[in-house]
């Protein structure tokens, strides 16, 4: 009974807002702009050895493939890795799911893991080993992969104003996406991240928050005081390319 009263009103409200507030992201800054100094080593080093408390590190190496399909297996990944071969997304890995079939043509390829460390764990059997990142053996069909280049990514503290965006670069690798929208009625809004993979968001060059598609919570609050009347700029760092080009605002929080 309540629904019949409320529903049309909600549709009206949402319709108004969403139609007006769909934001298109057409410009992208590649993640290479926030590379920090690389460390090279025979084996993949945990982030602890790279002095990274939390955040992102790119683990990169060259592989030679003789068949079309190969099983990639990690000994440890904490907490989340997105796998690319030659800049094409292959899938994601976590400590609960550490194998992935990669399908590429035989030959030499660049293998990249973009790894996120969400912080230290505080309980459970693993607490005595608080290593983070990618470490232990990384194998391709059982053969150990070596000669790693580890590049910390300065995502969280990079001055957004210094990023150089390109129009529709068409690349799949992680990067910063930029979009703009007009806003005329300052009020609290929620950024609906549904469909995006994992990453972080800035509004008008000010840090807004983070998101992950695996979470039930799919929205980030934009406090009214952070919105300006007129043109507002959103920048999204997306680790896993879900090929999203749009985003919308919602007056209420979004949960899966």
């Amino acid at each position: 009974m309540l629904r019949t009263v409320v529903f049309p009103m909600m549709t009206f409200l949402l319709g108004q807002t969403l139609m007006a507030q769909e934001i298109i992201f057409e410009r992208k800054a590649p993640v290479s702009q926030v590379y920090k100094e690389a460390v090279e080593a025979e084996d993949a080093l945990p982030m602890n050895d790279l002095n990274i408390e939390f955040g992102y590190v790119l683990y990169q190496t060259e592989i030679n493939i003789d068949t079309e399909s190969k099983e990639l297996e990690l000994e440890n990944v904490r907490d989340y890795a997105v796998v690319y071969v030659d800049g094409k997304l292959q899938g994601t890995l976590t400590d609960q799911d550490k194998t992935l079939i990669i399908q590429v043509d035989p030959g030499n390829h660049t293998l990249q893991f973009y790894v996120e460390n969400i912080g230290r764990i505080t309980y459970g059997p693993e607490i005595t080993d608080n290593s983070k990142g990618l470490f232990g053996n990384v194998t391709l069909d059982g053969n150990n992969i070596q000669n790693w280049k580890m590049v910390p990514l300065n995502v969280r503290n990079y001055p957004i104003k210094d990023l150089v965006f390109e129009q529709n670069p068409g690349t799949d690798t992680p990067g910063f996406y930029q979009g703009q929208f007009d806003f005329n009625h300052p009020q609290n809004m929620y950024l609906n991240m549904t469909g995006w993979g994992m990453g972080e968001v800035w509004l008008n060059q000010r840090y807004l928050g983070s998101y992950w598609e695996e979470e039930k919570q799919q929205s980030i609050l934009i406090p009214s005081e952070n919105l300006v009347t007129g043109k507002n700029e959103l920048v999204i760092f997306e680790l896993k390319n879900n090929k999203q080009k749009k985003i919308s605002l919602s007056p209420t929080p979004i949960f899966k």
């Binding site: 602890n48 912080g119 230290r120 505080t122 309980y123 459970g124 607490i127 005595t128 608080n130 929620y190 840090y207 807004l208 928050g209 983070s210 998101y211 979470e215 039930k216 919570q217 929205s219 980030i220 609050l221 406090p223 929080p253 949960f255």
Partner: protein, 958 residues
């Protein structure tokens, strides 16, 4: 799990679970009058005053009538107190699994006194071990244990409902009447109330055998504080009230009171059970009483079935007072049920305490009575080593609530457990806001239907048992849960639906769910909201990170480790647990030649924790958009590696590190706050302070006078001033003005900035002021300054001269030096710094021109963060570093940053400190180097302990 066979056997099938809702008729003249008055009131608002008077007169009249009714009361409910001696036997074999002679077939041969636990009588496995990661339980028992008593059921209990009630047990209690198992209950958080009606006969003596099984009944996390060996132990026994009760067969099964503060009324929900199989008629009489308040009311009741739900609204009048932390006004409602089936009459009474308060979800805060509150809380982990179990008595809990108030707190989060009723009673009385949880942690939400069903029952039981307590404002399922969050959402949504008197949250510090009404976490999707440590500057907060769709409470902030106080060992003489780990730590310290320093280590690290907690709490109070914080913790946590992070020991006795009065300066309903950039200054600089007032008291501060002043170490006022007189709102953190203090004429190295509001609210911050030094570390013929131990240095020493050796941190092996003491404890978290602060030998002459106490304070920030810790265990025992680093207590090696010694006939002073980087931004480091310069050039510099050169080589990288 209630496998209550009574409900199946005793009730006729057609009555089972058939429920009707009664239509209520106001039957008494008095109620009708009352109703009429309410209607008149609605018609005419300007008759409010008249109405108020009428209510008051009316209440007085009811009070008189009440006395009359009470005088004619029927006999009291029948209760047999079951405390005292019981037969007892352990059962490590678990005989029920297959033996022909399970324990309940026999007269148990031993005795035990109840209420109590097996540990009280040294029953169980005599523990030969010394646990390092927790206190050691002296006698461990985990398994079924049997308790037995022959009880004569009074003849006049014929026709009554008979219940066997235990206030708290662990975890499964099964009842055998003579040799038959009749009931078993496995709630952890609420009393076990076994219905024995169908199995006992009035006038007969029955052998009642109780099996208490404290094995984990479900695969839940072993750390849950409801039954972890880490804090309270996983005890076996029966605690609190234990009794056999007879009640009339038409009785009040449940009484819930829902305050409505808008119209000054309560909604009363009753569940009336009728096992007579007959229709009964009668009335429910309500008596509500509080300080200077009394009211009576009654309603008619007709019950035609086994269960009748009754719901009624009782207007209480405007003189009813609200409950909150400042004015914890309590009322008691007694419900007397009088019914008759025409032949027999039945009487039953139930009562509960309640407070007039409503809890709502605000934008950033919890709203209590529609006003934002700010939670200043402690994480309550069931740490009760004196008894091995959470206390069941009011006095023990009152002590904790009073301590909370004395230290400016208003909140306790019961981490993965729910306390017994006494805790709620005392929180109701003293105005402490509770968050309670189920025994749920970690992977407990991973799919397991039996475990899920346990949680589904447990949440309902908690809400029913404790829901009336006004102190119960927040409910969370458990701690840091992982697994299936659809299940977490299910529980959270069910809770919200079942009882709107509390706010609900799915899990602390993990995945958010849709039904969350608040969120306790280390971080939100906007960044970290926990604060583990302070900074030398205070111009920061957690506002931006706390501003999400629900109120956010900072999770487990604090956690700064203090060196154990070995004097506590003797406190465990009569406890079920003892600090054998402390004995191991102590022996190790003795073996390493530093036992005489144990108390110094405790004091120095304790002082550091206190100043960290001041900085942590102030940072969280500057965060006006946060709903509050939960400190981990005011008292020590004796498990998970043993975490002595408290200013209280595990017995809730003060460690003597900070007084309540001093603590309240930075943790109270109203606190003066100051934002500034840094703690150490050159005397050419100007101190800039931005004053704020955190005011979550119950009133604004009208025309507040705000003063600041600066004192030196002798307490002399060096400068002072006032900020604009102003009214400071409550429920906010308000900027109240800025001031500047030029530091050019300050000669005292340490000065204190004070801030006071109305001369009552006071707070202060130490800052350090140093001259700029040029020409430090100038080598002369007598004194050589060097950062490498080379031939020149050796030659200088061989000539009997002085070498001051400042190796760069990179050239020294060993641990990184850090200002902070270790997080939580170094046994559980083997990460940097693995040290527990520093002991400064401040009376020695090298500190003559560098003001410091025996512990490190904020002036040490840039020194310690640019230093390296030298492993010195293999140096001569007599050699004590002048800056001594306190090692992790399970390692207890001698560590230092600086020491002096006689080497090769010369005099060496060594300090593993970066003396080159950004020196123009490090006033304290400059001053320390200056003090050492003066020292090594004076005749005071005369190292006593000879040191072999090989030791120096041992800690330098090649």
């Amino acid at each position: 799990m209630i496998i209550n066979k009574t409900s199946i056997l005793a009730l006729p099938k057609q009555n089972l679970k058939k429920i009707i809702t009664m239509t209520l008729v106001f039957s008494s003249l008095r109620t009708k009058i009352f109703n009429k008055r309410m209607k008149a009131h609605k018609k005419s608002n300007h008759k409010m005053d008249e109405y108020k008077v009428s209510i008051y007169k009316y209440a007085k009249m009811l009070c008189l009538l009440g006395l009359f009714v009470q005088a004619t009361l029927l006999r009291a409910q029948d209760v047999i107190d079951l405390s005292g001696a019981w037969g007892f036997q352990t059962d490590v074999m678990d005989f029920r699994r297959g033996s022909l002679s399970p324990r309940y077939n026999h007269v148990l041969q031993e005795t035990i006194k109840l209420p109590g636990i097996t540990d009280d009588y040294q029953i169980g496995y005599k523990n030969p071990y010394k646990y390092i990661d927790r206190l050691t339980r002296k006698y461990e028992y985990m398994g079924p244990a049997w308790y037995q008593r022959d009880i004569e059921i009074p003849a006049d209990w014929k026709g009554k409902k008979i219940f066997l009630y235990f206030e708290r047990t662990h975890w499964l209690s099964s009842i055998y009447v003579d040799t038959k198992e009749v009931s078993s209950i496995d709630y952890v958080s609420v009393p076990h109330n076994h219905d024995l009606t169908a199995f006992v006969k009035a006038g007969k003596t029955h052998r009642i055998t109780v099996c208490i099984d404290n094995r984990f009944q479900y695969n839940t996390h072993k750390w849950n504080h409801a039954h972890t060996e880490f804090t309270q132990i996983n005890w076996n026994g029966i605690l609190g009230e234990m009794k056999l009760m007879a009640i009339d067969p038409v009785y009040l099964e449940d009484l819930q009171v829902y305050p409505n503060i808008t119209d000054h009324s309560i909604k009363v929900k009753l569940q009336v059970n009728n096992v007579t199989k007959k229709q009964v008629k009668g009335k429910v009489s309500f008596a509500i009483a509080g300080t200077n308040y009394s009211l009576k009311n009654e309603i008619a009741l007709v019950s035609t079935d086994s269960i009748t739900y009754v719901e009624t609204n009782i207007p209480l009048g405007k003189q009813i007072k609200l409950w909150d932390e400042f004015n914890p006004n309590l009322y008691r409602i007694s419900c007397q049920l009088n019914t008759s089936d025409g032949k027999n009459s039945y009487r039953n009474e139930k009562s509960t305490t309640f407070g007039m308060r409503e809890v709502k979800q605000g934008k950033n805060h919890v709203l209590l009575n529609n006003r934002p509150i700010h939670l200043r809380g402690n994480v309550e982990n069931a740490v009760f080593p004196k008894t091995g179990h959470a206390p069941l008595d009011d006095a023990s809990w009152e002590r904790i609530m009073v301590l909370m108030k004395e230290y400016g707190m208003n909140h306790l989060r019961f981490h993965s457990w729910c306390p017994p009723a006494a805790a709620f009673r005392m929180a109701d009385k003293h105005g402490i806001y509770f968050e309670v949880e189920m025994p749920m942690w970690g992977k407990d939400a991973e799919p397991d239907e039996a475990r899920y069903n346990f949680f589904r029952r447990e949440i309902k039981a908690i809400l029913k048992e404790y829901g009336n307590h006004p102190s119960f404002i927040l409910y969370c399922n458990g701690n840091e849960i992982t697994g299936n969050f659809d299940f977490i959402e299910e529980l959270t949504a069910e809770g919200r639906k079942a009882d709107p008197r509390h706010l609900y949250s799915g899990s602390t510090a993990r995945t958010r769910v849709k039904s969350d009404q608040y969120y306790v976490s280390q971080q939100t999707n906007k960044g970290p909201v926990k604060v583990y440590e302070g900074l030398p500057g205070t111009d920061w907060d957690k506002n931006m990170e706390s501003d999400v769709d629900v109120p956010v409470i900072s999770h487990e902030s604090g956690q700064r480790c203090i060196y154990p106080n070995f004097d506590e060992i003797k406190k465990y003489a009569n406890s079920p647990v003892e600090a054998r780990n402390f004995e191991v730590f102590k022996d190790l310290l003795q073996k390493n030649g530093m036992l005489d320093q144990a108390n110094d280590f405790f004091r120095a690290s304790g002082a550091l924790t206190v100043l960290e907690y001041k900085a942590v709490i102030e940072g969280l109070l500057r965060s006006g958009k946060s709903a509050g914080f939960q400190l981990l913790s005011m008292n020590d946590f004796p498990g998970q590696g043993y975490a002595p992070v408290g200013i209280f020991d595990p017995f809730w006795d003060s460690k003597g590190l900070v007084t309540a009065e001093k603590f309240r300066e930075f943790c109270a309903p109203t606190v003066a706050l100051l934002r500034y950039d840094k703690s150490s200054y050159f005397n050419t600089e100007t101190f800039k302070g931005k004053a704020e007032v955190y005011n979550f008291s119950n009133s604004a501060l009208e025309n507040a006078k705000i003063k600041w002043w600066l004192t030196d170490t002798a307490g002399r006022v060096l400068q002072k001033g006032s900020l604009k007189k102003q009214t400071i709102a409550n429920e906010h953190v308000s900027p109240v003005g800025e001031f500047e203090i030029p530091l050019k004429n300050i000669s005292s190295q340490k000065v204190t900035v004070h801030l006071a509001v109305n001369d009552k609210i006071k707070n202060s911050w130490d800052i350090w002021v140093y001259p700029k030094h040029q020409n430090l570390m100038q080598s002369t013929d007598k004194v050589l300054y060097t950062d490498i131990y080379d031939a020149a240095a050796k030659k200088q020493l061989a000539q009997g001269k002085t070498v001051v050796f400042y190796p760069s941190p990179a050239s020294v092996k060993g641990r990184k030096s850090m200002f902070h003491n270790h997080f939580w404890n170094p046994i559980m978290f083997a990460w940097a710094p693995m040290t527990i602060g520093n002991l400064v030998h401040h009376e020695q002459a090298m500190f003559k021109d560098f003001l410091t106490s025996s512990h490190t304070d904020w002036q040490w920030w840039d020194i310690l963060n640019n230093a390296k810790v030298i492993e010195m265990q293999h140096a001569p025992q007599k050699l004590r570093p002048f800056i001594q680093v306190i090692d992790s207590y399970d390692n207890n090696q001698k560590l230092g940053i600086g020491f002096e010694a006689k080497v090769n006939g010369g005099k060496l002073l060594l300090l593993a400190l970066d003396t080159k980087t950004d020196m123009d931004k490090r006033p304290a480091t400059q001053q320390l180097l200056y003090s050492i310069d003066k020292y090594v050039n004076s005749d005071k510099f005369s190292p006593q302990v000879p040191l072999d050169e090989t030791f120096i080589q041992s800690f330098l990288t090649k």
